[in-house]
């Protein structure tokens, strides 16, 4: 396994060029949350040429709908949701300036094309590790779309949030290479 890379969010285009598929990263800084319903609204704004309700340039979006926070918690359990449901919206978000996405699961060729063209990275967080991941989220506040409940758009302050680079800005894909490398190694034995 490669050495762990510490990165900061927002994520600049220069910084993301240093990230490669398979890298283990720890993310510190400010990220935003959005799932299906919030993405739909954001892309409607973009289509109308309106400004988005958060700073989209160099932004990292985390696909998550957390559980409600208990007393004393910044946020409830908060692991990633499946990313392909955002595939319809991601190219427009990347065009608008988003540079990082955190989720789990496959992405469409259109999203990968937009990532290569504009410079963006797709990170995987561990699906189902919501209790573990929530400890890296130090502050959470709703920015807008409160009516969506768990699906509201939130601003998160994260410290050493663990993830790995699934797809880098050159389109290399850990889901393909990691599986192949494992199978090759298993065959050798």
């Amino acid at each position: 396994m490669s050495e762990i890379k510490r990165i900061t969010a927002p994520l600049t285009k220069e910084a993301l060029k240093e990230l490669h598929s398979g890298d283990d990263v720890l993310i510190t800084g400010v990220i935003y949350t959005a799932r299906d319903a919030a993405h739909k609204r954001l892309c409607e704004l973009l289509a109308e040429g309106k400004e988005l309700p958060f700073p989209v340039k160099d932004s990292v979006i985390y696909y998550v709908g957390p559980t409600p926070a208990k007393e004393g918690q910044a946020i409830g359990s908060a692991g990633p949701t499946t990313s392909y449901r955002m595939d319809a919206y991601s190219p427009a978000m990347i065009e608008a300036g988003e540079t990082g996405m955190i989720g789990k699961g496959k992405r469409s060729p259109e999203v990968i094309e937009a990532m290569k063209k504009n410079g963006a990275v797709y990170f995987g967080a561990i699906g189902g590790a919501g209790a573990y991941l929530s400890r890296c989220i130090k502050k959470a506040e709703v920015v807008c779309y409160e009516d969506l409940g768990a699906e509201a758009l939130r601003r998160l302050e994260v410290v050493d949030f663990p993830a790995f680079v699934i797809i880098d800005s050159e389109g290399n894909n850990l889901y393909e290479t990691g599986r192949k490398a494992y199978l090759d190694s298993a065959e050798d034995k």
Binding site: K70, G76, G79, T81, G127, G128, Y132, R179, Y182, S185
Partner: protein, 279 residues
């Protein structure tokens, strides 16, 4: 005739919703630990280690294992000599409402699949009744996440497709799912019945303790064989490659029509949750 007050049902469902979301069943925990021990691929092993740490945190702090606290699937096994005072369905939904609200669980249900307005209390529950002889009353709550539910499939095979057709279909569903359902997964398979019964059997299969094989040796062997074949695929934990793609395969079967061979595959993630109580 045994009488049960509906308030007892509500309280039990409430508690089961909360407990099922924080405490992973022992068999699943055991399988995750074993997989972690035996995983040769370094990144896969470290992911399994975090998955293990995650359920330990959830258990210790009484917080949800996963943020998708699911749709509440409620299985009622009711003796035919039992009478519930009050409205049973309302009592179950009240329990879900209280469990998800008082337990700080996520509300993930929309009232209509097309207008998509959240019901804000995770109701209605998905309720499955079975009437059995005697005076028992057993409730099982299984919060079902949709990352894995969405990767489930059903196919009406032809009788000539036979055993090979069933195996091929199960393996294809796992291949299509890839990293999406949060592997390592638990695979529930339903074979036979009608279109809808096959799907129900697949879901019911997910309720069975994964350390128990099907009591029919033929299906027990098929479970073992499919698990081996799935784990040869190399998808690995979270799809990054590795030996551990599935923790278990559970199959349920029933009689079917001379013209049909329905097969349903219901995928569950490593957060396979269910908890039961008898009243």
């Amino acid at each position: 005739m045994r009488e049960i007050e509906s308030i007892k049902v509500t309280e039990t469902v409430r508690n089961l919703c909360i407990e099922a979301n924080s405490f992973l069943p022992g068999d699943i925990k055991g399988r995750i630990c074993d997989a972690c021990e035996n995983e040769p691929w370094p990144l896969a092993k470290s992911i399994l280690g975090i998955i293990k740490e995650n359920f330990e945190i959830a258990e210790e702090k009484h917080v949800p294992i996963c943020q998708d606290t699911g749709m509440a699937c409620v299985f009622i096994e009711m003796g035919q000599d039992v009478h519930v005072n009050g409205n049973l369905e309302d009592a179950i939904n009240k329990g879900v409402r209280r469990g998800y609200t008082e337990g700080y669980l996520r509300k993930s249900v929309v009232r209509d699949p097309l207008d998509r307005v959240n019901t804000k209390d995770n109701t209605p529950a998905m309720i499955y009744y079975s009437i059995v002889p005697g005076e028992t009353f057993k409730i099982t709550v299984a919060p079902k996440g949709f990352g894995s539910e969405n990767m489930s499939q059903l196919k009406m095979l032809k009788p000539s497709d036979g055993l090979e057709g069933v195996k091929d279909f199960v393996l294809r569903v796992i291949e299509d799912a890839g990293p999406n359902p949060c592997p390592p997964i638990v695979v529930g398979v339903g074979v036979g019945g009608t279109f809808d019964k096959a799907a129900f059997l697949a879901k019911k299969a997910l309720m069975r303790n994964t350390d128990e094989r099907n009591s029919n040796p033929f299906y027990a062997d098929l479970e073992t064989e499919l698990l081996e074949k799935i784990n040869k695929k190399g998808i690995g934990p979270q799809g990054v490659g590795g030996k551990t793609t599935a923790l278990a395969v559970n199959i349920e079967y029933m009689p079917t029509h001379i013209a049909g061979l329905p097969v349903a595959v219901n995928i569950n993630c490593h957060v396979t949750r269910h908890k039961s109580a008898e009243l």
